[in-house]
């Protein structure tokens, strides 16, 4: 009798937990259309092969650097661990996590995130943190990122956060409940459309230009982490025209790089050398580069990586060839699809374009 009762309780508990698990899978955002950037972080875990270079940062890396170009031009295997408005502590913890999976030769960090010293936005937090696999590193990142109105329990049990999506569930939520198609390769978010720069908004005056202590703390931690792992750290400022990059910020970064003996490259000062034309190489009037711009920047940056960091060309390495061949095909397919859409409709319809 007692055994029967225990068995029934066990089965019932399993049923409840199973139902809740299914609900959670169903209601979590899938990021397969519209805001596809939410898929960036989690796709890393299905990645095969090692990387010479890891880029970390916000949209200024995942939209401005093309790992396929770096491979095709220099045989450099790279991956971008970036997400929308990725804050510096999130970048740090993503790097910490990445180093558990692989050890790159070079880490490139885009310094725009230095402008944020405190947690900013719940939606962006979720896009970065939900995709991470559960680990102590993820918990530390959540802890550092949460806004006052957020709670750890919502991250541990995302159903508690996304329960209200029940009225917005679509066919796509059912289709992608357990498995979904890859949206990107190597963390690069491609956009082939063009929206030229018409005017560059001037940066408004700030009450204080000093980067915050918290931001410096995590930058220092990143420097330390790279040192401990014998990894070269490069700081970059991508050639995005805005958010505005102030001279005062530039001065602080230059000083920091000098002090820590790091290379710091501000691509805003190298626009002509890179060959970026803001009439054709941006899809949102200077905020991000399109694929043409990203390929130019990657070609330029690849040269630096090859010449100054002596990263070996892997194009003839059999461990890499097949993997990258498939990536190139994927990359070219997306590019062609995007160009076809632009030709047909006059603007991009999918991949986060007008149609979504």
């Amino acid at each position: 009798m007692k055994t029967k009762r225990v068995l029934i309780s066990f089965v019932m508990a399993c049923l409840l937990l199973g139902s809740l698990f299914l609900m959670e899978r169903l209601l979590m955002p899938k990021y397969v259309s519209g805001v596809v950037e939410g898929s960036l972080i989690e796709e890393y875990y299905s990645e095969s092969g090692k990387h010479d270079v890891i880029f970390i940062g916000d949209c200024e890396v995942y939209e401005n650097i093309s790992p396929i170009t770096l491979w095709e031009e220099y045989g450099i295997a790279s991956y971008i661990r970036g997400s929308a408005q990725q804050l510096i502590w999130q970048s740090y913890y993503l790097l910490e996590e990445t180093l558990k999976y692989e050890k790159p030769e070079v880490v490139v960090f885009n310094v725009l995130a230095m402008k944020y010293d405190q947690p900013q936005n719940e939606a962006y937090n979720r896009m970065t943190l939900d995709g991470m696999k559960m680990s102590p590193t993820k918990l530390k990142s959540i802890n550092a990122s949460m806004l006052e109105e957020e709670s750890l329990i919502d991250y541990l049990f995302p159903l508690l956060r996304y329960h209200s999506r029940w009225s917005e569930v679509t066919k796509s939520d059912f289709q992608n409940i357990f498995k979904k198609e890859k949206q990107f390769h190597n963390g690069y978010y491609m956009r082939a459309d063009v929206k030229p720069v018409e005017s560059i908004p001037k940066g408004r005056k700030l009450p204080d230009y000093q980067f915050g202590d918290n931001a410096y703390y995590y930058l220092n931690s990143m420097v330390e982490l790279c040192k401990e792992n014998d990894i070269e750290l490069i700081l970059i400022k991508a050639p995005s025209l805005y958010p505005y990059w102030y001279d005062e910020w530039e001065f602080q970064m230059e000083k920091y790089a000098n002090k820590h003996d790091l290379q710091y490259i501000n691509f805003l000062e190298l626009i002509d050398e890179v060959g970026i034309d803001f009439n054709t190489d941006t899809y949102d009037a200077g905020l991000h580069l399109n694929v043409a711009g990203a390929e130019k920047l990657s070609k330029y940056f690849g040269k630096i990586l090859r010449e100054e960091y002596q990263i070996v060309d892997k194009r003839n390495n059999y461990d890499y060839v097949d993997i990258w061949k498939e990536k190139i095909t994927f990359y070219n397919d997306i590019k062609e699809t995007q160009y076809a859409e632009i030709d047909k409709y006059g603007s991009l319809q999918s991949f986060g374009g007008n149609g979504e």
Binding site: I8, L15, S19, L20, D154
Partner: protein, 530 residues
């Protein structure tokens, strides 16, 4: 720590586990610790107030009891020596001392409540008067924070000391047990207002784990959460939109808002009480019911016997009766009978006592005129109904429809509408505005808003309305089932699959359909603020 917060859920989960694993003799001590911990979450600085109430009541209750004993001893010692007059005189002299001690405690504790709750209300009124009639000098407001649950624990504790004074029961000997009675956390912030002789029966008892009690308690907690987060917190959005934009939402919108608020308040308050009673049940403690399907009442008077029962009982026992039989009132009764005759004269003291009780009920709910007017309007409706009773009787004698379903339904609907109309004072929190908005229901016939999609602009989507409708149907169904006894007992005898299907549906409904978390402005229970 809100009842609906994750921290509270963790808090009670841990408490349940520890409660049934420690030796039983420590159970009530653990509850005391948990109650003070819960209270400290609201602010350590407030602990002083509840401690002061507890200690003052403890000391005075023992002083009063000592006088009781002294009287008994003296009278038994001098049995046969004293004349009847001497005995009476002695008793009165002791009673007078006890009365002074009681007054002292009431003064201290109601004084604290009055100062903290009503000082700024008084200042605002003085400022208004000096502005209108005086030199216009304005007094500054005091920076006062109201300790959590002070209205509830003060009333509960004052009920206790009055009972001790009346000799209903002996005072609690153990200060810490009394402290637990005052601070028992599930009922601390929104009641029920328990009586010591009732609550102490189970509060301090050693309890073994009782599967049924724990199950029933958990079911009731879940039902409370359903009412609060699925219904009350969802409809709150619509109520807030209507009430905070009186220029936009008039006429039928006010009517809709009024009904929304009736549902919100019911789901919110009864939901909170369900959680309270559920927690107590898991802990093996029996707390008095505070509601008895109030929306099935056929008159306002009946409604108030079935809504917030413990507050009504408190006012009846500790305010209405004492006022009704106090010496000045008896004098007034004699005087008014002499002047106005028996028919009117006998009513005057009752009316006066009723008005005092309802004025106090109003001001207890909040320190603003809207609550005072709300209280007085309630008493007005009750007294007018009372006056019309002979008329009703004649009507019923003639038409014999009193017991028909149609007439009973009419009475229920009338009571709901009357109560909801009065609650507009609670919604708008401004007396002239409330009257104005009430008036627009009769001047602005914008019935088309019910059909033209305007209801979709109140912050509630079609999905929300569907959930609310389903919730309402469920509330109604449960209330109807309750007529045949406890719903949980009836559920207990159902087949296992059906039973679990219902439990799980409720759990999943709370988790999925609840209006909580990011994107929702999670609100505290309405009665927490009183």
């Amino acid at each position: 720590m809100l009842f609906t917060s994750y921290s509270f859920l963790i808090f009670i989960a841990l408490l349940f586990v520890i409660y049934y694993t420690i030796p039983k003799k420590y159970q009530w001590k653990l509850l005391l610790f948990a109650s003070y911990l819960f209270y400290a979450f609201a602010g350590v600085k407030f602990l002083g107030y509840i401690l002061l109430t507890t200690i003052s009541v403890y000391l005075v209750s023992h002083k009063i009891d000592k006088l009781h004993q002294m009287r008994t001893q003296y009278l038994s010692k001098h049995k046969g020596e004293l004349s009847r007059e001497e005995k009476k005189e002695y008793k009165l002299s002791i009673k007078a001392i006890q009365w002074k001690w009681l007054l002292f405690t009431l003064f201290i504790n109601f004084g604290i409540l009055a100062v903290l709750k009503y000082t700024n209300f008084t200042i605002a009124n003085i400022n208004y008067l000096t502005q209108a009639f005086g030199n216009g000098r304005q007094l500054s407001f005091w920076n006062l924070a109201l300790p959590m649950g002070i209205s509830f624990y003060t009333f509960q504790t004052m009920g206790y000391i009055i009972d001790v004074y009346r000799g209903k029961y002996a005072p609690e000997k153990n200060l810490f047990k009394l402290a637990l009675f005052v601070s028992f956390f599930p009922q601390l912030i929104q009641g029920p207002i328990s009586r010591f002789d009732d609550l102490s029966k189970t509060l301090f008892k050693e309890k073994s784990f009782n599967n049924k009690s724990v199950n029933f308690g958990l079911q009731r907690i879940m039902w409370g959460f359903f009412k609060k987060v699925v219904i009350a917190d969802r409809i709150l959005i619509g109520v807030t939109t209507i009430v905070s934009n009186p220029d936009t939402y008039q006429g039928v919108f006010v009517f809709v808002g009024m009904l929304f608020y009736a549902l919100q308040l019911y789901a919110d308050f009864t939901g909170g009480i369900d959680i309270t009673l559920g927690i107590a049940e898991v802990l093996g403690i029996k707390v008095q019911e505070n509601f008895n399907r109030p929306y099935f009442s056929k008159s306002i008077k009946e409604f108030w016997r079935r809504w917030h029962i413990t507050l009504g009982t408190w006012f009846k026992e500790y305010l209405f009766y004492p006022i009704s039989v106090c010496r000045p009132m008896l004098k007034l009764s004699k005087f008014s009978r002499r002047i106005f005759g028996d028919a009117i004269g006998k009513r005057i003291p009752v009316y006066l006592a009723t008005l005092v009780v309802w004025f106090t009920t109003g001001i207890w709910h909040g320190s603003s005129w809207n609550f005072v007017v709300w209280g007085l309007m309630n008493s007005l409706v009750i007294l007018v109904s009372q006056e019309f009773e002979p008329l009703y009787e004649r009507f019923h004698n003639k038409f014999k429809i009193q017991h028909t379903f149609g007439f009973r339904s009419f009475q229920v609907a009338r009571t709901i509408l009357l109560m909801s109309s009065l609650r507009l004072f609670d919604c708008y929190r401004d007396v002239p505005l409330t009257f104005k908005m009430f008036g627009t229901m009769f001047t602005n016939y914008n019935v088309n808003i019910l059909f033209n999609g305007d209801l979709m602009n109140l912050g509630l989507s079609m999905a929300d309305y569907i959930v609310l409708l389903m919730g309402l149907v469920l509330l109604l169904t449960v209330s109807l089932i309750q007529r045949n006894g406890s719903v949980r007992s009836q559920l207990e005898i159902q087949p296992l699959v059906l039973r679990y299907a219902i439990y799980y549906s409720l759990i999943i409904a709370v988790i999925i359909l609840g209006a909580y978390g990011v994107g929702y402005d999670s609100s505290q229970f309405i009665y927490n603020q009183f």
